[in-house]
């Protein structure tokens, strides 16, 4: 298991902070529905850099990169025959430029959008696509890879393996869990936090966690489930600002900065190590979260 930047920081501080959503800000900056945000790394570099700066300026410990959907298979799945490596390298370069040595850069890598058991793509193709993406992110100057919003164990294992075997970066992996009828949390593929933790840690991830989901409060039982499995492993949590609603034709995320921040003490008690945000969170949300954590600048 690799230990570098993040785990070094966690030796001196028990709680770290990550950035919030980028896509939400891109939309107010003119990203159209269906437009691929990752293309902005090439076409609107300045706007992407501005978003990165808006989080670095808050004093967070780490920011992500605009490369969530930058996997070659995901891009091809949406009809983009494009140099995936270039988009990912640019993503990491932009975040590095904004972060300087003030904070760490996590290369964001989302799912391919394919289910292995359906046979549309082979394991080798999936591994190769992740390998290209993580290598490009490392070249662009990131400190870690953050596989996120995963739901299938087989895909996430290939992803982590591709990062272990093709980069020297610290590896984070988060899954998206939702509450089942029975009250416990599983991914849409039926994976529990404990199953995920066991597989991802043995594949070579050194930080695990959960993102997206259904708002801040639901992160607490998921963190507890992880802690029941392992009391020491660093845990990253990036909730969205609730399930979005459409009001007057506009997308609205229900949780305000204060509402999200109100659950921070509960998350800390449950044993979270790093808090950030997913869809619908803004610099204001992250500021409120930091202010309600007992950490004072």
């Amino acid at each position: 298991m690799r230990t570098t930047g993040i785990q070094e920081l966690l030796k001196s501080r028990s709680l770290l902070f990550c950035d919030g959503a980028w896509g939400t800000i891109f939309q107010s900056a003119g990203l159209k529905p269906g437009e691929i945000a990752e293309l902005w790394n090439r076409d609107h570099r300045k706007k992407v850099l501005e978003v990165a700066h808006s989080y670095v300026d808050l004093g967070v410990d780490m920011i992500e990169t605009n490369s969530f959907r930058g996997n070659g298979i995901a891009l091809a799945g949406i009809g983009l025959e494009i140099d995936a490596a270039e988009l990912n390298r640019l993503a990491a370069e932009i975040s590095r430029e904004a972060a300087g040595d003030k904070c760490l850069v996590l290369g964001s890598v989302g799912p391919t959008g394919k289910i292995l058991m359906m046979g549309d793509v082979s394991e080798n193709e999936m591994y190769d696509a992740f390998a290209v993406q993580v290598q490009a992110i490392e070249q662009g100057g990131a400190d870690a890879i953050c596989f996120e919003t995963m739901s299938a164990l087989d895909e996430a294992e290939l992803a982590v393996k591709a990062a272990v075997e093709n980069t020297n970066l610290e590896i984070i992996c988060t899954f998206t869990f939702t509450k089942t009828v029975g009250g416990d949390y599983k991914t849409v593929m039926g994976v529990t936090p404990a199953q995920m933790a066991e597989k991802m840690l043995s594949a070579g991830a050194s930080i695990i966690g959960t993102n997206c989901g259904n708002g801040m409060e639901t992160m607490i039982p998921i963190v507890k489930a992880f802690r029941d499995f392992d009391s020491n492993i660093p845990l990253l949590v990036q909730p969205n600002a609730g399930i979005p609603k459409i009001e007057n034709g506009k997308t609205v995320f229900p949780e305000t900065p204060d509402e999200m921040a109100s659950h921070v003490p509960g998350l800390i008690d449950a044993g979270v190590s790093i808090i950030g945000g997913c869809c619908g969170t803004t610099p204001d949300h992250i500021t409120a979260i930091m202010n309600n954590s007992g950490r004072r600048e």
């Binding site: 159209k32 529905p33 959008g113 849409v188 593929m189 609603k245 459409i246 997308t251």
Partner: protein, 211 residues
């Protein structure tokens, strides 16, 4: 004799090889193809769909069951056509313009197909006029629209308006789905039905076709 109860079980457990083998046997023995579907296959999809809704199984189990079902259906289809038996209904499905997500939509398509409906899957990022053209040129009962993104949900309304403009809105029922879609949204845009998940979509289509 082909063990048709085992066919039912093999679909529930997603065992494609067994379901195909028993279906072949049954057809060779000249079992009524409609009886195979109605008595053994569709009930199997109902069972797995119910388990999915109760979170007893998840997406992989549902997909495997649908695959086993589809494998058997492919064998049976020519026999149905031979007897002039029509499908239970015709569905056109797609993810709306600007939205590129296809897993949820494909899941719904598989469940509908597995439940005996004829499904034409138009894929992702489907413009309204393409859907209108299909409705105009073929016999279609249901238009099923998917959107994962809140930013693309308004495209569902565009499809409904386009169907109205083309004068074919009354020819079809429009159903909508996606993680942020709600019954309220469905009512707002004038769709005919909403379902929270893939299994619910099957019940919804059945209900709309008998209404």
């Amino acid at each position: 004799m082909a063990d048709l109860n085992k066919l039912n079980e093999s679909i529930i457990s997603g065992d494609l090889d067994t379901s195909v083998q028993i279906t072949k046997e049954a057809l060779a023995e000249r079992t009524d193809p409609q009886e195979i579907i109605q008595k053994y296959m569709i009930p199997a999809m109902d069972v797995i769909g119910g388990k999915f809704e109760r979170n007893e199984v998840f997406v992989p189990e549902l997909l495997m069951a649908a695959r086993a079902m589809k494998g058997s259906l492919e064998l049976i289809k020519p026999f149905l056509a031979e007897r002039g038996i029509e499908p239970r209904g015709r569905v056109v499905i797609g993810t709306v313009k600007g939205d590129l997500h296809d897993i949820g939509k494909n899941l719904v398509a598989s469940m509908l197909e597995g439940s005996g409906f004829e499904v034409e899957n138009l894929g992702v990022d489907v413009p309204s006029d393409k859907i209108v053209a299909v409705v105009q040129s073929k016999e279609v009962d249901i238009v099923a629209l998917s959107a994962l993104l809140t930013t693309t949900m308004p495209s569902m309304k565009d499809v409904i308006e386009a169907l109205k403009d083309a004068g074919v809105r009354d020819k079809v029922k429009v159903i909508v789905g996606g993680p942020a879609v709600t019954q309220e949204f469905c009512d707002q845009i004038g769709a005919d039905g909403y379902s929270e998940n893939a299994n619910g979509a099957v019940g919804l289509v059945r209900k709309l076709l008998t209404a």
